[in-house]
Amino acid sequence: MQESFENLKRTTSAKERMESELNIGRDIQMSMLPLVFPAFPHRHEFSVFAALHPAREVGGDFYDFFLIDEDRFCFCVGDVSGKGVPAALFMAVTKTLIKSRASNDFSPASIMTHVNDEVGRHNESCMFVTIFLGILDVTTGQLAYTNAGHNPPYLKREDGALVRLDKRHGPVIGAMEGMVYQEDRIDLTPMDMLLVYTDGVTEAMDPSQGLYEEQQLVELYRSREYSSAEDVVKATVDDVWRFQAEAVQADDVTVLAVEYFGVPEGAKRHVLDLTIKNELGEIARVNESFNVFAEEHEVEASTRRQMNLVFDELLNNVISYAYEDDEEHEIDIRIELLSDRLAVTITDDGIPFNPFQGSPPDTSLSIEEREVGGLGIHLVQNVMDEVSYSRRTNENVVILAKHLKAPGID
């Protein structure tokens, strides 16, 4: 009696431990996903929607997406072998490596080759992950993609034709280091929709253990038109639930859709590229060139002045503080004017420095107490609608955007 009670206690606590480990794993998994939609409300060239429904037991799906720069949209869907905390941590490492590599490497094949080497090197537990990774140039519609052992995605063309992207570019990530991955390119045209999913969809089981199968997915996508990325993702998940009925969900179900709209017709796009030396006097030259550009393309005076302010603050910062030597350096400035946004990219080869990570100054102090330190960046953050910083191999990259009123829109 005593013995069986001890046994029961032991198995119960082991079960509880496993349960709680699965819960922690799921919490880590879910906390890493971008969950806010619309994800890029100010971008009109594309939209993205994704859903991930974790299974109770097995699971290690993830997805991610982000803009690498003004024109390049990177997205991926993956499925880690294993479950619980180890799988969640493996996923976290993989996802972080992808994002970090993609910030200065715009080739999916190169990113995957690099990530595979990193993940495979110290992979004692022999876990692996299947990944589909794409980088879409939102101005041209060209999609570069690498499939590492993942389910082939589908491209639903504007005319309804369904294309299976069935090229495989290498084995699963993490299994063997030293693999060289390939990539393919395909041109998307406006209103094309790309659907990426995990095997939790095609291997969903109904109560009599029948599988959902890829064919059912194909029929679903053929069956009707979808009004948005969100529409098609939700329809897919609903169809899997309908099929599964009262059966238990066996694996994570993940669906990600990217809809490409293209650059709006009649949309303008003007680019001004400037390169300056690291001398304060050069700031005036930037503002003079920008003012000519702004006048030529009818940028509002108040916006033009705000940009003058922004250039003065940020370039002053870089020129005054980014260099530890007395050498001459170059700073690149790219200005892109679209119908409804003005984007600026400033690139310098100074010491790593994120201008936006300081705390804002206390603007409520009196004249005697006030200092002006930190105020410049505070001004920039307030007059611009988007600011971001990233460190690429040996460069600081600051990207800023100002939303403009599109013609005919109030």
Partner: protein, 110 residues
């Protein structure tokens, strides 16, 4: 940048033209220091023809106001365009400085 200075009664009116930024701030600071050195106590800064101001320009205004305050003088500012006004509001300068819409309003009772 250009600064035109005119004495109106006991007030020195400084009319700015162009930009008050990284490259022009030192010159503006020199002009303020020179006037205060010559004994000016009441300074009115007219930004009617100022295009934009950056934090380098704000620093000059702050330093000047502090110095004037210590010497029993004061600084007023008028005629901000929308961008300059925005910068004053974001930085909190609109509450710590005496800001007026026009030169005549600023001169009244100075």
């Amino acid at each position: 940048m250009n600064i035109g200075v005119e004495e109106v009664g006991s007030v020195n009116v400084l009319r700015f033209e162009g930009n008050l930024d990284t490259n022009t701030a030192p010159e503006a600071q020199d002009r303020f220091d020179q006037l205060i050195g010559e004994g000016a106590k009441k300074l009115l800064v007219d930004f009617k023809a100022l295009d934009y101001i950056s934090s380098a320009g704000l620093r000059v205004l702050l330093a000047t106001a502090k110095r004037l305050g210590a010497e029993g003088g004061s600084l007023r500012i008028c005629n901000l365009n929308d961008t300059v006004r925005e910068v004053f509001e974001i930085s909190g300068f609109s509450t710590i400085f005496s800001v007026f819409d026009t030169e005549s309003e600023a001169l009244a009772g100075f």
